[in-house]
């Protein structure tokens, strides 16, 4: 059989193939990525679309959690100081209701309770990064302002709505309680009961002082109950933070396994491709120049 003596096309095809393998191996090692265009691995590229969206969301959820957590903690600590203020008001009220207190004493106590009322109002007007924490969703205006028209002496400018912040896919956490629910609730009115206590102390009636003190006491237990909302949010945020950390780790590892390069394997591949390419070049150098002419002596004269 006659044999094809033109090895150029074969040699070129071999060289191109080994060169292309070498390029791929080199690119993988250099970039640390096994997928640069979709055709490198279509299904991994498609999964990476999902992965990148989820990763961006989880990063943002994590930031939301830490932002919301400090906001909730600020609100909770405000309520905590309201609780201690109320406790102090109750003991002052009890002292004022005691028969041994003189009218002068009662006036002094009234001034102290007025001071407590002012500090509670200031806590109710707490803001966090420009947002009033107890104004419902109408949180850009100061929630409580002094008003002679109101029985408690203070008007509520907020609304009754609450905000929930996204901290996970389909997971929201409640981040505020409207002031109308905590401080000026119709049945347990914190500001109203303190205001009544001040009036009762100024009037000097022991029974009125006692009634007002009891009202403050029931408001106190109500505020303590409401704090549970923030406590729940805090624990939800803490556990979500742990979950999101795990999620970040698992998304990163998914991304690595989809498009990352196993360096050991990539380096081995590179070495192999290099060997194959050198071998093809060496073979070409041996095969291409050989013809019968190499072995014939040149014609003489």
């Amino acid at each position: 059989m006659r044999v094809n003596s033109n090895m150029v096309p074969n040699v070129l095809a071999d060289l191109q193939q080994t060169q292309s393998t070498l390029n791929t191996a080199l690119q993988e090692v250099a970039s640390g990525k096994s997928v640069t265009v979709p055709s490198d691995n279509p299904s991994a590229s498609a999964q990476m679309v999902q992965n990148s969206v989820e990763t961006a969301n989880v990063d943002q959820y994590t930031q939301n959690v830490s932002g919301v957590l400090s906001m909730v903690q600020t609100a909770d600590s405000s309520l905590s100081s309201v609780v201690s203020s109320l406790t102090q008001a109750i003991s002052l009220g009890t002292e004022g209701a005691n028969g041994t207190s003189s009218a002068t004493n009662q006036k002094e106590i009234a001034t102290q309770v007025q001071g407590i009322l002012n500090s509670v109002v200031s806590e109710a007007n707490t803001s966090y990064q420009g947002t009033y924490l107890f104004g419902g969703t109408a949180n850009t205006q100061i929630p409580y302002t002094a008003s002679a028209a109101s029985a408690s002496g203070y008007a509520y400018n907020g609304n009754n709505a609450v905000n929930s912040v996204a901290i996970g896919d389909n997971l929201n956490v409640q981040v505020n309680l409207p002031g109308s629910q905590i401080f000026s609730n119709a049945s347990n009115d914190v500001l109203g009961s303190l205001n009544s206590l001040v009036s009762a102390l100024q009037s000097g009636s022991s029974s009125a002082i006692q009634t007002a003190t009891n009202a403050v006491s029931s408001a106190l237990s109500y505020v303590s109950q409401q704090r549970v909302v923030y406590g729940n949010s805090e624990s939800q945020l803490n556990s979500q933070e742990t979950y999101l950390q795990q999620e970040t780790v698992s998304l990163t590892s998914q991304s690595n396994s989809l498009t990352g390069v196993d360096m050991t394997k990539a380096a081995t591949d590179l070495a192999q491709a290099q060997t194959a390419n050198s071998a093809a070049l060496a073979a070409a150098a041996i095969v291409l120049p050989t013809t019968l002419l190499n072995y014939l002596s040149p014609p003489t004269g």
């Binding site: 094809n4 096309p9 074969n10 679309v49 969206v53 420009g130 109408a138 996204a166």
Partner: protein, 445 residues
């Protein structure tokens, strides 16, 4: 004189060998073998003399069946190459570059999540607006990338048709010359080589079917449109169709665009009329459905001024992805609030849900885009695998053709030595006869 004849014949054989060596790298050249034949012997009485040798001609060694197979594979390969290189270009639009739709979706989604925690921060509102604009731009860029690849393919159609016409004219001319030669009893030889080479080039441009007729080759496209018949060529024409692209017409003006297969032309038409329109239509559906879902979510809430949310995205009825844009320029118009107060974030959940809820297509916007990436990647990978496989096949066939028709330098060198020896021997015969003659003449004097 037998010896003088032998000198001439051997010289002819040496010329053929020299021509083979000279053309060893000429594409399409088939080696030629000198054909020797012995002459009629002379019988005078009881004396029988050999009649010597004649060079009857040079035979080109070719395998027509292999040529046909090579033409077919060449068509397939050019078509696969055209598709593959176009898809390589297309898929860069879908690679993760930071400006692609996936990156823009990630940013938009994470900014909406951030808006949930900071609904009244104007910086965050602005970043949602900006990432929305970037998302619309990513859709624009991807659609434009597809359209530009489509325009490239369209230009290729016009260029390829004009190349086809040039080739068919040349082939018809050669056909005429060959039939003249065969009519006068001569072999086609090198002219046939040239024609075969042109037909192979033609098959790289479009799929052809070749038939041998009494007046030379008849060449038609795969669906039977005549290109060359004997010494006549039929040129194809292009005209702008209703879709704005170049359509291919046969010599009598019929539109044969959709029936063209194989070759660069077939590949370009496949990419332009099937592959890219498929991607574009998916991208447009995605842009339209996502925009209307997001606009519906906007309509459920109130903007920072307390007004009902207006459309966030605008998409044109046709070319949705290419024309997608953000309708609002003021971040205060994002419908963040669910109750009309500035501090409420109640509607952000609805806005975010537009990204995570299934669209009418049955998939979320992310899944829909991921599927498109998968499809483009698979197509590009298949086209490239296909092109490599056909290339291997073609290499095998070309090697086979080379082994039949190619010039082997070793063989020619051997022939050179063989014919040189024969020439020397014939010359020796001449000089021997001359010596004999002079001996005889000297005897007389």
């Amino acid at each position: 004189m037998i010896a003088t004849e032998a000198l001439g014949v051997t010289q002819g054989a040496l010329t053929a060998t020299s021509n083979n060596i000279a053309n060893s790298n000429t594409p399409g050249y088939t080696r030629e073998i000198p054909q020797f034949a012995e002459n009629q012997q002379n019988q005078v009485g009881n004396e029988v003399n050999g009649g010597g040798v004649t060079l009857t001609g040079l035979q080109s060694i070719r395998d027509e069946l292999l040529n046909v197979q090579i033409q077919n594979q060449t068509s397939l390969q050019s078509s696969a190459n055209a598709e593959s290189s176009s898809l390589q270009q297309i898929q860069t639009n879908f690679a993760s570059t930071g400006n692609d739709i996936a990156s823009a979706l990630s940013k938009f989604s994470s900014n909406l999540t951030q808006l949930s925690a900071s609904p009244s921060s104007s910086a965050v509102q602005q970043s949602v607006l900006t990432s929305g604009q970037n998302l619309a731009q990513a859709f624009n860029t991807t659609a434009n990338g597809l359209t530009s690849a489509q325009t490239d393919a369209d230009q290729q159609v016009t260029q390829t048709v004009s190349q086809i016409n040039t080739l068919t004219t040349q082939i018809a001319q050669l056909n005429g010359q060959i039939s003249q030669l065969t009519a006068s009893g001569q072999p086609g030889g090198t002219i046939q080589d040239q024609r075969d080479e042109l037909v192979q080039k033609l098959s790289g441009l479009t799929g052809v079917s070749v038939m041998q007729g009494s007046d030379g080759e008849t060449i038609t496209t795969a669906n039977g449109t005549p290109l060359v018949m004997g010494n006549k060529s039929y040129s194809l024409q292009t005209t702008t169709g209703t879709d704005g692209f170049q359509h291919v017409l046969d010599f009598s003006g019929n539109d044969i665009t959709s029936s063209i297969q194989g070759g660069q032309l077939g590949g370009a038409i496949q990419i332009r009329d099937q592959v890219i329109p498929g991607y574009l239509s998916q991208l447009n559906t995605l842009a339209t459905q996502f925009s209307s879902a997001f606009n519906a979510a906007q309509a459920k809430g109130f903007d920072s001024n307390g007004n009902a949310g207006q459309n966030f995205f605008t998409v044109p009825a046709s070319g949705a992805a290419a024309g997608m844009s953000v309708a609002i320029s003021n971040p205060a118009l994002i419908a963040i609030s669910s109750d009309g107060t500035a501090g409420s974030n109640g509607n952000v959940a609805n806005l975010a849900a537009a990204l995570t809820t299934a669209l009418p297509s049955g998939q979320t916007v992310t899944q829909g885009y991921a599927n498109l990436v998968d499809q483009v990647g698979t197509d590009a990978s298949n086209a490239s695998t296909n092109s490599t496989a056909i290339g291997q096949n073609l290499l095998q066939l070309t090697n086979q053709q080379s082994s039949v028709s190619g010039v082997n330098i070793d063989e020619e060198t051997t022939n050179l030595i063989r014919f040189q020896t024969a020439y020397e021997a014939a010359a020796r015969v001449v000089s021997t006869i001359q010596q004999l003659n002079s001996t005889t003449i000297n005897m007389i004097s």
